[in-house]
């Protein structure tokens, strides 16, 4: 894992350094063994988990801590599934009590069809949770003003969506992702909508600090191979961004000399 950081530079969020710029979720895997293997293949530095009721009838799988060692993986509890600031705050506190740190992926959904966030409720919850000492990484729209306000209220990272959660549509608005990155000082992590490796690469090429993906890896035919692909794509996109791309022109310009051609 350390070579990822050596290649693309470490990522610092709040007081923590991360070796990898790829963040992965733990939902929707065919089984727990595949999940763990895929997470390892991704080289990720941070793994998201959800907070839910224990199934007392045991018809579902056991808790994820049976499979993920918190010593090996940095766990980031989320507030997925919450539709109000009040619910998100409740889940955040439960996540902190269940977990091992003050970190949180804040997510407040505003629309059931697209799962786009309720930005006002997200801001409201963020304010409260920052005051309670959480390191809030806030999932949000690709909306510049909301991103700036989330930074203002003290979020340690802002996580604009590429496209709707689980859609796999890739970045629908690269301009605003770039603008959010240009204007915010906290790390920007593109979260949601990544469908395949090229989407992660394109996201990183916009200059953002990291990418978070779950469904694209978990529901691939071979999740472990896709996790590896995402790892390489994230590195590749970061390196391409740092390298500085050529100017695009809508005309062909020869790569070989035009002089010295034979008569």
């Amino acid at each position: 894992m350390s070579e990822d950081g050596a290649l693309t530079g470490h990522l610092r969020i709040a007081d923590q350094e991360f070796e990898s710029r790829l963040f992965v979720g733990t939902g929707k895997y065919p089984d727990n063994e595949t999940m763990v293997e895929a997470i390892r293949a991704s080289g990720t530095a941070m793994v998201t988990v959800a907070v839910r009721r224990v199934d007392l009838d045991r018809t579902q799988s056991e808790g994820i801590l049976f499979h993920l060692d918190p010593e090996e993986f940095f766990l980031l509890p989320n507030t997925a599934g919450c539709y109000t600031a009040e619910d998100a705050i409740r889940y955040a506190r439960l996540g902190r009590a269940a977990g091992f740190n003050e970190w949180l992926k804040l997510e407040v959904i505003g629309d059931e069809t697209t799962l786009v966030p309720d930005t006002q409720a997200t801001l409201e919850a963020a304010k409260t949770l920052v005051a309670e000492g959480f390191n809030v990484m806030a999932y949000t729209n690709d909306d510049l003003v909301t991103a700036l306000r989330l930074e203002d209220v003290g979020c340690v990272a802002v996580m604009p969506l590429a496209s709707p959660i689980g859609s796999g549509l890739g970045i629908v608005n690269p301009y605003f992702i770039r603008e959010i990155k240009r204007r915010c000082s906290v790390p920007i992590i593109v979260d949601a909508g990544v469908g395949t490796a090229s989407d992660a690469c394109v996201a990183m090429e916009q200059g953002v600090d990291g990418v978070l993906t779950n469904t694209a890896i978990a529901t691939a035919t071979d999740p472990v191979a896709m996790a590896h692909a995402m790892r390489l794509a994230t590195q590749s996109g970061r390196l391409a961004y740092l390298a500085g791309r050529m100017e695009a022109r809508e005309i062909g310009i020869p790569s070989s000399p035009t002089r010295g051609m034979l008569d």
Binding site: T26, V49, T215
Partner: protein, 72 residues
């Protein structure tokens, strides 16, 4: 008829009859759960793990037993 030594509590949204005087720790263990891997919310208040043995469940209490599951 319910046993007079028993009380009614709601656990994860479901009414259950449990023995009166049961501690939170005993309630958690009665479901065969590891207290170190779950969080208990009693009447909307989160209990720290060191409270589990000291706090008793009372008739009409609402208990939530939660843990981490896969998510994005």
């Amino acid at each position: 008829m319910s046993d007079p030594g028993n009380i009614q509590v709601q656990v994860n949204g479901k009414e259950r009859e449990v023995q009166s005087g049961l501690s939170v720790h005993e309630l958690v263990e009665s479901f065969d759960l590891n207290p170190l891997l779950i969080v208990v919310e009693l009447n909307r208040e989160i209990l720290s793990r060191d409270q589990f043995k000291d706090v008793q469940v009372s008739d009409g209490d609402s208990v939530e037993l939660v843990h981490f599951v896969g998510g994005g």
